[in-house]
Symmetry: D2
């Protein structure tokens, strides 16, 4: 059997909900367990919710907490769901401080509540990358992976790309 994977939830588009009364988006509980079920996942994934926020609202204290959780986690394989707007910032902090674990950050453009087809695709790829890439910190989006020290979000195109 493959190693267990720790899945840390921080919020982001994955888990945005739609409030039918107010017509607004908000956070409640994570949908990642449901998404793993929809994907018929059979990897031993331990889901832990660290926070439920938009990554634009994530501050240094939040990131330090994520770093601390990754450090003390007994698992060597970690996937983190994260808003895409500051995903590269969190990846950089983790990459500069953790080198003995494989950590993959991933996100979604479409909330689970609206089908989140890209979320299922990204979740499947993130789980695969964490099981097959060497120790290090990566961002997995759009079927691709990037190392923490060579990625930026192209905000105009809404996608991630290498620096060089």
């Amino acid at each position: 059997m493959p190693q267990p994977v720790r899945l840390f939830i921080t919020g982001g588009t994955f888990d945005k909900e739609y409030n039918e009364r107010k017509g607004t988006l908000f956070f409640k509980d994570t949908h990642l367990r449901d998404m793993l079920d929809l994907g018929r996942n059979l990897v031993d994934v331990e889901v832990r919710t660290l926070m439920m926020i938009d990554s634009l609202e994530m501050d240094e204290e939040d990131r330090q907490m994520i770093l601390g959780q990754c450090r003390k986690c007994p698992r060597n394989l970690i996937v983190i769901t994260h808003g895409t707007d500051t995903m590269e910032v969190t990846a950089k902090l983790l990459g500069e401080n953790i080198t003995d674990k494989t950590i993959v950050l991933t996100g979604a453009m479409i909330p689970y509540a609206f089908g989140s087809s890209d979320g299922l695709f990204n979740l499947g790829s993130a789980l695969a990358f964490v099981q097959s890439l060497p120790a290090g910190v990566y961002i997995a989006m759009n079927g691709r992976y990037f190392t923490w020290d060579n990625v930026r979000k192209n905000r105009d195109a809404g996608i991630f790309e290498e620096l060089v």
Copy 2:
């Protein structure tokens, strides 16, 4: 940019369609391009349809054709969509004959026409595995990967598992 990935289509549940008039399932064109779009895929994937059949109807000649296509394909990274019923048979033939390319076979339990949530999840994981695993032949299902020489389908449970 990552290497291009060749995606060979052979049919299977991924591409089963629903005939509204007759209420039966059938094959027409592949939906894999649509699924890659839904997943916001940005990997350079070359889709080639080899056949559109249920893997229970796949015979030795079909498998030899798949082997021949994998051999002469100029790409080193190959993903094959395949019905799950005989996926291990095709994987064995490829594994015994090709050692210098990374080939990942994947499938779905739910047709695209019905949402195919597991298809998107498996497609994302297959694309990730083919980019990150060493040369060899693998089956990617349920978030896991198996080497061609240590996998079987547990027909009662409807899942794949190691032989040992």
Copy 3:
């Protein structure tokens, strides 16, 4: 409050399920309650399952049973879910024998398991027609309604149309 509506289930495409293991379609339990919930229905609907079959397999005895159930039902408003292939036959039997109740037969081209967008649309229209049409027996499909004595299924086009 509007009158209660009796909803008789006979099967048909509405309730076809997909067997993930075998890749075949079959009947289990009705999904009409789920569909009413998805539609946020607030009409008092009493769901009763009479049978779960493809309407091509419905015989005279089955139709007599449906007629008997409609007769003895204490409600004046009745909706019947029915396969489209012989819907007109059942409608004729009911129309020739019941004149003091409003009975609307409806069906779907797409099973609930695959989204059944037309099922939700037809269910909404059938519930509306049964509340607003005078006593009589009708078929409600594709947003339209037809009286039992002036309708036939155009099998080539897969739709219902007037005889004259």
Copy 4:
């Protein structure tokens, strides 16, 4: 064939879109034609977009414009898609001024972009009610219909109900 139905679009939840980049909801084009296709609608529906706004932003001038459009419309059967927050206000204005046409206002709790199962259900019921109710102005929601002069939105419950 049934009479043609004029479908006036004013916006509301039906047509809210999700901006993947900004993660916000906005209006672009109407999805009602797509929804009619999904429902396999065969009624002759003429779609006309009058405005694309949240009904909380609808002012007296907007309502007078809707009234004017309903008056000069050559059709006797009119369906209006409308945000639910002020649907009763528009219905009252129309009801006090138009008595020779059947006008049905309807809305959705879930945007088309997120599946809008209730939208398809409501659209089906609105089209059915407009074809079968006598001249007058109605609100069709949750499978029910209400006359313009005996309806209010219960904002706590998020549903419509009779005044008396």
